[in-house]
Symmetry: C2
Subunit: 754 residues, 2 copies
Amino acid sequence: MNGASHLMDFLDEPFPDVGTYEDFHTIDWLREKSRDTDRHRKITSKSKESIWELIKSLLDAWSGWVVMLLIGLLSGTLAGVIDLAVDWMTDLKEGVCLSAFWYSHEQCCWTSNETTFDDRDKCPQWQKWAELMTGHSEGAGAYVLNYLMYVMWALLFSFLAVSLVRVFAPYACGSGIPEIKTILSGFIIRGYLGKWTLLIKTVTLVLAVSSGLSLGKEGPLVHVACCCGNLFCSLFSKYSKNEGKRREVLSAAAAAGVSVAFGAPIGGVLFSLEEVSYYFPLKTLWRSFFAALVAAFTLRSINPFGNSRLVLFYVEYHTPWYMAELVPFILLGVFGGLWGALFIRANISWCRRRKTTVLGRYPTLEVIVVAGLTALLAFPNPYTRRSTSELISELFNDCGALESSQLCDYINSPNMSRPVDDIPDRPAGPGVRIALLQLALALVFKVVITIFTFGMKIPSGLFIPSMAVGAIAGRIVGIGVEQMAYHHHDWIIIKNWCRPGADCVTPGLYAMVGAAACLGGVTRMTVSLVVIMFELTGGLEYIVPLMAAAVTSKWVADAFGKEGIYESHIQLNGYPYLDVRDEFTHRTLAADVMRPRRSEPPLAVLTQDATAVEDVEALIKETDYNGFPVVVSRQSERLIGFVQRRDLTLAVKTARQKQDGVVSSSVVYFTEDPPQLPADSPQPLKLRRILNLSPFTVTDHTPMETVVDIFRKLGLRQCLVTRSGRLLGIITKKDVLRHMAQMMNQDPESIMFN
Amino acid sequence: MNGASHLMDFLDEPFPDVGTYEDFHTIDWLREKSRDTDRHRKITSKSKESIWELIKSLLDAWSGWVVMLLIGLLSGTLAGVIDLAVDWMTDLKEGVCLSAFWYSHEQCCWTSNETTFDDRDKCPQWQKWAELMTGHSEGAGAYVLNYLMYVMWALLFSFLAVSLVRVFAPYACGSGIPEIKTILSGFIIRGYLGKWTLLIKTVTLVLAVSSGLSLGKEGPLVHVACCCGNLFCSLFSKYSKNEGKRREVLSAAAAAGVSVAFGAPIGGVLFSLEEVSYYFPLKTLWRSFFAALVAAFTLRSINPFGNSRLVLFYVEYHTPWYMAELVPFILLGVFGGLWGALFIRANISWCRRRKTTVLGRYPTLEVIVVAGLTALLAFPNPYTRRSTSELISELFNDCGALESSQLCDYINSPNMSRPVDDIPDRPAGPGVRIALLQLALALVFKVVITIFTFGMKIPSGLFIPSMAVGAIAGRIVGIGVEQMAYHHHDWIIIKNWCRPGADCVTPGLYAMVGAAACLGGVTRMTVSLVVIMFELTGGLEYIVPLMAAAVTSKWVADAFGKEGIYESHIQLNGYPYLDVRDEFTHRTLAADVMRPRRSEPPLAVLTQDATAVEDVEALIKETDYNGFPVVVSRQSERLIGFVQRRDLTLAVKTARQKQDGVVSSSVVYFTEDPPQLPADSPQPLKLRRILNLSPFTVTDHTPMETVVDIFRKLGLRQCLVTRSGRLLGIITKKDVLRHMAQMMNQDPESIMFN
């Protein structure tokens, strides 16, 4: 653990790569922490020397806050730009603004300001494609032309998106959250959070969302924010050179990402804490909150939705809910849980099929086919034709008196003279019936198409499609309950809470509860889900329905499998992720897990004073272990330390090149003072400085649950196993993960990295 | 770690106390966790046997939620009852309701409903003492009589409070948060969360707050909620028999306590996470949230404030803030930080004086003297006469058009015809000037008296007095800024953001910012503080000022000393609390900290097969260590395990009593199979079952920062130190804490418990 620090003391600039990690390897949290403390100690002691050093040390102390500020500013800006671009390009599929082609439908109609509120959808400046090309806006021909243009744009956007991803940044695909979870848990994937990924992901995200595919921008925004975080890390050596500190920044960046995705800073911090982060010290909590707030305020000052709200679907309800309504809310929770479980199973088996069969070889074709199918099926239905966030926004909203939506086509009683906020329950008109049918079709469509969409080679988030499924189901249930309450005032169960002429049921609330339930079922978020929804409604009032649905949904979904969609994708990809939430309850001991097994050759060890340089080189060549224990002698097997393969290779190589007299027969010494050697023996090689003198050990009798706990909490890469002071074997993170997979009747070979 | 589990297997009911802890001792988190896993495993395997066992296992799985529900219900109810009682008894100091003596002033005037809103303070049913006794409500005589009655009631209440605490439950005094932090970090203080403490703390809290002392009920409410949590733990063996699981429940209970104290469920959860909890798994987060919500809704259904709000000082502001206002906000932050630092120093040195001098011997007298002084000085000033929460509520509130308070005595322009919400800045009238003077006096009074009040032998919270200090300062600053902006419209800095006739400055917001700053300075809360305040205002709008003040206040206060008031009191009491936030950055190694030191006698160890029962008994008698390492032999010093003193004592005692043939010369075996002994040798005593075969070890070269990290994250009691497989020494939690104290130039002897 203090290998790196010792090294720094003895040599000025010894091996530039010492203490770094290879790609697709796990970091050692304790070592990173130790290195940061060394750095800090050095700066502190230097700061007493001169004013300049003091200023430098203050700057260093402040750099964390600066990084947070920059992350907040950039991710807020990017989110705003993405929102505006998506808005414009989604509308481009329908038509174009004559006064300025870069205006979206809504902006176009705002600027041509003659129209009143009611018919703002019909403004002369905005022309659908058919109207623009043929001059006719009505009729079958115009419909077909608009249909064609819609599909064409969708194909174009999706083709562009998948091509850009494939050519420039393959890591830009997917939601990114599974990988970010893995990275935050201490894994290295170089380039995953790089500048190219940031750029390409931002662009292709816009294209993918605009193409009308059943995907959202919320998950990828977390990835984008983390890329920003990584980008700004490189400005400060404190973060760029320490993988542990870097991950603190990334945790905060994830919070900023969710903050701008949902306009929920507190929810974002809790999401980062609950869902993605691994090591989350309190300092990070505070900084995450700062980054999330800056991001939210940046986004608000860009004001992409023109309503000074952070999200499209901010809502305010006016009527309370009643105890009896908990029954439909819980039913929605059950639905959400079932949908979550079904979705995860279906999506994972489809992704596995893609990975293993010929299907995976044509990702571009796959995206184009799915996009084409989506566009073809989506256009005829007004609820799927528009963007999914708009759909959710409409479903969440309560029907006001001025609402022109088909969903609000209720039959008004003639003597309505109440204030706008308090409209009593009314019977549904024909528009509502049509809307219900269309919504039902939209539900089936979304459920099926999302399964095939998530996991394709384009940026794709899952929050919005899940919420859409839940919101549709919720709204249908809500209208059903409302009509039941209206038509059956005399039923005992209804009589108690709903007088005739009162506004009892808020279908929009049902939509929101349904959305929470489905999102919960898919992701298994709990507190952060409820807090995000709470920040959308802004009232404690509705927390209980949301919570009831979230709890039910989680329980129902958990009954079919403990993993959420992100964990499932981590497993699918074989990343070495040690979930904090998995409880290991088996009775195995460290001795059952450690290598070497009984049938295997003995552990590859080095002795402290009896190994020649050529033996070391042979060991490095013949094995691919990440490190070697060093013992007093092969007989006593008493452990004195652990040396990393990477450090050992570098040290031997450097010594061979630069240190005179080091030959193949030179003896490698890990002891403090090599003995006096005969004059004719070759120059010894002293390597104590790269030896970690405090390797982590457990006894062979240690229960595996304790070992798992230690790996999790201390973020170890490996741990040595001893019995009464003798070295018996080694347990690596991969061994732990494979053992856990085996215990859960999964394929241990699915864990691929170390 | 698996000693306990082994024991369970071999003997049915061997030593009833095995695996429990003595009072004022530290628990072993790993062992507790291991025991819970064993329990869980047993239940799971049994649940497959019969339907009845399956139901039992389901009940067991649900018990966590049941406990949370009960905690929420009880702590919400208690908070409501306390609020109502405090309300009534505070008013009792002034007068009594003729129609029903159990009505508070407000309730009394509500029920006598003839009065209009404006003069609701003057209702015939409510009589001040002077009026009741002499019939006169005006004049110097009446004033003096009222004054006397006020002081008399204060003395009576405080005398009752201190007597009840001293006679029935000494643990009921103070805020309880330092002790709860220590308990949650794994310390045992029996009775601290007991039934008596719950009862007495609830009653005396009402008395103490009603007596008018400068203290609040918020901190003690956390203690009360934790007592509820402990009470309900005893219903389920899952929690009552496992100190680790019990602490999960207590963490959630703390969240419920803050939730009802401030009406802020999310803030409560974050408070528990940030401030009091030590081990906070994600499962606990979700359950805490549930408990906090149930508590909040229970309190709301009791509705103690008659406004369907959870707290007296819920506010809604109508005007935004401007960038330039950040300057006074940050100044308030500086004030808060200074006040926090000053308060902590002064209070700690006063408490230390109380502890070490004759003063501590007369706690009852002290309370009565302080209460008398407080009442004497408080009565003449209307801002200190009323209860502190009412004061804060008034300071937070913006001046509406209907406001009759002196603070809102602005000079209205004659042509005022605006809506109520949007009153422009106006010049201050004479009432405001008088109010400012009185507020300044109140500020000085509160600052001084709070230092002497916190730490007396009565329940006393610190949140309300701190917030009051900040709110007074903030309101004064706010009015100052408002008047400056009104009178100097032409100043460049003001011209930019404040047109004449506009409502630019909200003095109530300044009060809130000041309150946050002072609370932050004293407690060093960060995220939870901002979230609690956010939940009080209910708008993202005002988070930036609050955050700016909180950050400034923390930085300023930290410059004078890192510890908040709770940590300082923990230190004062010498509790073994290993703060998660302290960064250990010194270069010491495990070898520097371990016992025995070089000059000391060697470590007391047992050998695995060569110690006689009498030697063991002698060892137990002569030393007071909490446990003994077991080695292969004294020569090789190779460690095989660790045995707890308590278990060893019990095992030897039980064997002596119940096992035939065990005599003083019997050999104690810790090996798996004792060798075949000659026929005439005494019966051996096999103790492998109480041996912990997986003691935690580190090498002597391990940096102390890593050791501290391990102790913190794994919750160890002790850790053995080895070098190349040989046992060298032991490090206990106490050693770690003493070493940390020494490194920070504090008295290591102040850490008193192990």
